[in-house]
């Protein structure tokens, strides 16, 4: 498949802070590619370079074969960008915003209406409302409509689901899956690890570095040791005791369980015996599937 975005040895500093540290990756045309990492990982810096809003420190980045420094004007024509902060005109109405963004790309909402129809139709009943008066979910739909109205080849979405509730997040990812089918390359960042499974491939990013790039399934497969889900009646006490257990390698709270990996040659029976000795009741120790978040924490070590 042809390459849509290619980044090689990209670095960028702000003063002494190294925000991006020798990042390389490529995204195929029509791929839904996720950057998963916490605040401060470098996701926004990377996206601002790809959208030609920030110069690279060193290294190269190309979007659809165009260089982000030399060909920045051409890139802007083929790129849709939804920044992390709501950046539409709050005092223009829904309809005016859409017309405006179509206008600056020398097109009209009608020309590409089929592309945004499914999303825009949900906010069309409020087309005369000012953008500043919309709810969070509606703002998000308008911003996505405006980013798509010039029919971009590449769509870059910076944390579109941050601070958004679980229901709206689900709906947003369903929208992205439909856009992907139209052949648009999508780069999306998120701090929510569970959203990784919605992407074709993901880069796990932390402290300006990409720790791993692969399909979500392969990243999970690379977690090459047994992961135990542990539970007892006293979860707070359990955590403290698990940390005291010499055979434990890692201990993390995980929903209603603690996720534990054991040192080599330590059997789960030893863990159970230890917890019984500490007086825990209703002990449950069972093998569990690692999630992307388990893998992320393993890589952070």
């Amino acid at each position: 498949m042809p390459v849509s975005v290619k980044v090689e040895h990209l670095s960028r500093s702000y003063g002494k802070t190294l925000a991006l540290d020798d990042v390389s990756f490529s995204v195929q045309q029509g791929e839904l590619f996720g950057f998963i990492g916490p605040d401060g990982a470098g996701k926004t810096t990377l996206f601002r370079i790809l959208t030609t809003l920030l110069l690279p420190g060193s290294g190269t980045a190309r979007v659809e074969g165009l260089d982000v420094v030399k060909d920045f004007r051409k890139i802007r024509d083929i790129l849709g960008y939804m920044p992390g902060r709501f950046s539409l005109y709050q005092d223009l109405t829904v309809e005016e915003n859409l017309n405006f963004f179509a206008g600056i790309f020398n097109t009209t909402p009608e020309a590409n209406y089929d592309l945004v129809k499914e999303i825009y139709s949900q906010i069309e009943p409020f087309k005369d409302r000012r953008a500043g008066k919309l709810s969070g979910g509606m703002k998000q739909k308008l911003a996505l409509s405006c980013a798509l109205i010039h029919k971009p080849k590449v769509l870059i979405l910076d944390e579109p689901t941050t601070g958004v509730d679980a229901v709206s997040r689900l709906e947003f990812w369903e929208m992205l899956a439909r856009l992907k089918k139209l052949g648009i390359s999508i780069l999306v960042s998120t701090p929510y690890m569970d959203e990784a499974s919605r992407c074709d491939r993901v880069a796990l990013i932390q402290g300006g570095k990409i720790m791993s790039i692969d399909t979500p399934a392969n990243i999970i497969r690379s977690f090459n040791q047994p992961l135990w889900a542990v539970q007892s009646e006293d979860m707070y006490g359990l955590l403290a005791h698990l940390r005291q257990f010499e055979g434990a390698r890692t201990v993390f709270l995980f929903g209603q369980y603690a996720h534990v990996t054991l040192k080599e040659k330590v059997a789960s029976g030893e863990l159970i015996a230890f917890l019984e000795m500490k007086g825990h009741g209703n002990i449950l120790v069972q093998l569990t599937e690692p999630s992307i978040e388990d893998c992320f924490m393993e890589l952070m070590k």
């Binding site: 990492g37 916490p38 979910g137 229901v167 993390f252 709270l253 995980f254 209603q256 924490m297």
Partner: protein
């Protein structure tokens, strides 16, 4: 359990819009209470009332024994508040931030010093007192903001999406701080969009369109709705 927050038939209207529609619930002393709901369900409105920042249209609510209509100043003295957006002062040192907030809550200079040492000691940051906040990693800042929110030993601490955007390891350390705080008897009232964090709460309420549609322990909610996770429970109720 002795109730520290008591809410009965609380209603808040903005014009004809009903943001809080007859809310009734109570939170026990030392409890970790998860206050969940979709965006726009009315969580912030309710939280503002409980913090003494806004008056209800009708209904009753008492926080730390004080009335939300007439004793808002007393409420403010007895609660702590932290949100993802609310941050400490970036151009002051850690110690200065503690001093500033301790001062606002009327703590004596001596109390501020003891409490600062105690809280920083717990975070393992005792040696970092003189560092300017802007040079400090985000994960630490969230933990410091939480410490500042409890500097005056409040009865209740309100946490509004405290872990948004925080890395997964820090997020878990943050919850262990919450547990510790609750064990000291401080009630924790918390909102989050991370559904795994809902599991860490002792009880959880879920708001939809201004109403509380479910309130129970995570275990009971999962049984009631035949769901494996809190995420499933939430999606079923809020979708």
């Amino acid at each position: 359990m002795e109730p520290i927050i008591q809410v009965e038939n609380l209603v808040k209207k903005f014009g004809s819009f009903v943001a809080n529609d007859h809310l009734s619930f109570s939170v026990g002393k030392g409890e970790i209470f998860g206050f969940l709901g979709a965006n726009g369900a009315g969580k912030t409105t309710a939280m503002r009332i409980l913090c003494g920042l806004s008056s209800p249209t009708s209904g009753k609510a008492r926080v730390a024994g004080y009335d939300v209509y007439t004793q808002t100043e007393k409420i403010k003295r007895n609660i702590g508040y932290m949100s993802q957006k609310f941050s400490l002062y970036d151009d002051m040192t850690i110690a200065e931030n503690f001093q500033f907030y301790g001062g606002i809550y009327g703590l004596s200079a001596k109390d501020i010093r003891t409490r600062t040492d105690e809280l920083l000691g717990r975070l393992g940051l005792a040696g970092e007192k003189k560092r300017i906040l802007k040079d400090i990693p985000l994960g630490w800042k969230q933990k410091l903001a939480f410490s500042v929110a409890v500097i005056h030993h409040p009865s209740i601490v309100f946490l509004d999406e405290p872990t948004g955007g925080v890395d997964p390891i820090t997020r878990r350390q943050f919850w262990e701080m919450i547990y510790e705080t609750a064990r000291e008897g401080i009630t924790v009232f918390v909102t989050t969009h991370y559904m795994d964090e809902a599991e860490y709460c002792q009880r959880v309420s879920i708001m939809v369109d201004g109403k509380i549609v479910a309130l129970d322990t995570p275990a009971n909610l999962k049984t009631t709705y035949g769901a494996a996770t809190m995420e499933e429970v939430f999606l079923r109720l809020a979708r």
